[in-house]
Symmetry: C2
């Protein structure tokens, strides 16, 4: 903990000042300010006037101590990228959450770390948040360890984009229907006549990407004469994905379609295809996941799936606050719909 110093500014006006000035007790001031009734209208008006005049603001610190409630939610982002806000899918979730919490008079405390740096000690214990929201990457063993560590904070948890609800923990998950998104992408591509598919995935898959893959496989496997190969890339960065895709194109017969695990990977694949002399969508089709502005940057416009990232953030906030106020989660698994968004990187159904 950082070096303490003397109080920067002694609190100017307290509830007692207001009480004295208005000729009432501190409790009456408190009652009026918190709308607890029990005070006559005349007295309430007098008190409010004094509050105005003195510019009194209640001390949040005192209220926090007295009520053991912090009106604060901790948000933890565990990703490989040290710039933990670089993924627009993540920032949209954070924005949605922040907006909801701000509107509910809660504060969001944001922290990010790499999976290898994961620890809760001294990180969220010095916060005393009322609840936690987390975005976790890493393999499933790591993730479940992260969850059990978070649980030691003894506060309700909401996980974003986690696929299964941890058992025995006060926890809910909010995710989009990536499985269905995968199905929609696959259906579209199958309808264009595509039969041989590659899917690009990072070495360490996000749980959501695995769900997309399963959705895709469920459609593709139902059709005879199809194949789905996974091209494992080291990570999901542009350079690595482009390189891996190029290598794959060089060493074997190009597929009918390449399905990116997300938009960023799809854009890298498009680059690799044109490097390799393939025209999109005539020679090869490409699709992504989670439409953000980036999809506009490329030509042809990427066929993708519009994500519910902002809604995930809002919903995570609303479920968590409901849990804090009611004592239990309404639902522990919330799944939001996604919307297929055709572009010109695929052909129209024949």
């Amino acid at each position: 903990m950082a070096k303490p110093q003397r109080p920067a500014v002694a609190r100017s006006v307290t509830i007692k000042d207001v009480a004295r000035e208005a000729g009432v007790s501190a409790m009456s001031v408190s009652n009026v300010l918190n709308g607890r009734g029990r005070v006559s209208e005349a007295t309430a008006n007098r008190i409010m006037q004094v509050v105005e005049r003195l510019g009194y603001r209640p001390s949040v610190a005192a209220r926090r101590l007295r009520l053991s409630q912090q009106w604060t939610i901790g948000m933890l982002i565990v990703v490989e990228d040290p710039d933990f806000l670089s993924d627009p899918f993540i920032t949209a979730q954070v924005t949605g959450l922040t907006n909801y919490l701000t509107a509910s008079s809660y504060s969001l405390i944001l922290r990010g770390m790499k999976p290898s740096d994961f620890r809760t000690t001294g990180l969220f214990q010095d916060i005393e948040a009322d609840g936690m929201v987390a975005i976790l990457s890493g393999d499933s063993v790591q993730r479940s360890w992260f969850v059990s560590e978070l649980a030691t904070l003894q506060v309700p948890i909401v996980l974003m984009q986690e696929q299964t609800v941890p058992q025995g923990i006060d926890c809910a998950i909010v995710r989009q229907d990536d499985f269905d998104g995968g199905r929609q992408v696959a259906s579209h591509l199958l309808a264009t006549g595509a039969r041989r598919f590659w899917m690009l995935l990072p070495q360490v898959e996000w749980a959501a990407m695995t769900a997309r893959k399963k959705g895709i496989a469920s459609r593709i496997e139902a059709v005879d004469g199809t194949s789905l190969d996974v091209i494992a890339c080291g990570d999901e960065s542009y350079c690595v994905t482009r390189g891996n895709t190029l290598a794959a194109l060089a060493s074997r017969k190009a597929p009918d379609a390449i399905i990116g695990g997300n938009d960023q990977m799809a854009i890298a694949a498009m680059k690799a295809c044109s490097d390799h002399g393939l025209r999109i969508p005539a020679d090869i089709q490409v699709t992504g996941f989670n439409a953000f502005d980036t999809w506009r940057y490329v030509e042809p416009v990427l066929t993708t799936v519009r994500s519910a990232a902002h809604a995930i953030g809002e919903r995570a906030g609303s479920e968590l606050i409901h849990r804090l106020q009611s004592g239990t989660f309404r639902e522990t698994e919330i799944v939001l719909p996604v919307q297929f968004q055709p572009g010109s990187s695929t052909r129209s159904s024949s």
Copy 2:
């Protein structure tokens, strides 16, 4: 303020429990934990053992009340885009700040709003942050009003990417040298033989963009037979910028180079150029500002300026914490260098 509820979990173990168990006073426990000396080694060891055994964690809420210090910094982002984290330049600043603060045991509370929704009432007054960091957009009149409003919170302020230090306010600014970035871009383009320039800027300029423009103008105006026209776009979005650029290209003679106010605008301009049948960089050159991953998505690779966004965030944190601990800002205007980054969207110097 949200409906209060009964304390979720009564605090399990307090400093008094430790004191009783160790057979000492609460003060001695406090002294040991805060390394204030005044305690014999034997007693200190005994106390630490009890602390371990009981799993005692000090209450931050109580400490906050007692010390009138919150170990919390508020971050306010005022931008037009409701998705206030969509700009990678902003997220990099936030990441840098968060990382620095976390390492210093401070927390960051994040909030965003549109200029038209600006208010501090009930927004940061319910936080009692020890300091504020802000990214402000809007015209200069608006911005100086925002600053004076922030000042009513009575805490030190650090502004990111503001160009001038507000007077009479406990405030510092941290920015990158956008003027110099502009000079470097202009020098490079002039060296390639370019003479007629357009610069793309949003209707409401960021202060930093104005600085870039000035840097560019300073170089261009020094050369005879040159011209610099500003193409004002409604906003800095891809669609609008592309449309405005196309319209400009259609109505008058194309310039030798288009300078984007940032990378996003430059990419939109590149699209407009190819729409218009111009080859880059043979027929027209294009440059951006603030290199992020997006610049990799386009072909040819964008000539741009590597931003110091992450460093701005870190520096803002370190200056603010220094101010909190020492009582005064070391410097009130901190300018970080930027680095020109040539790509293939411009020709090499002839």
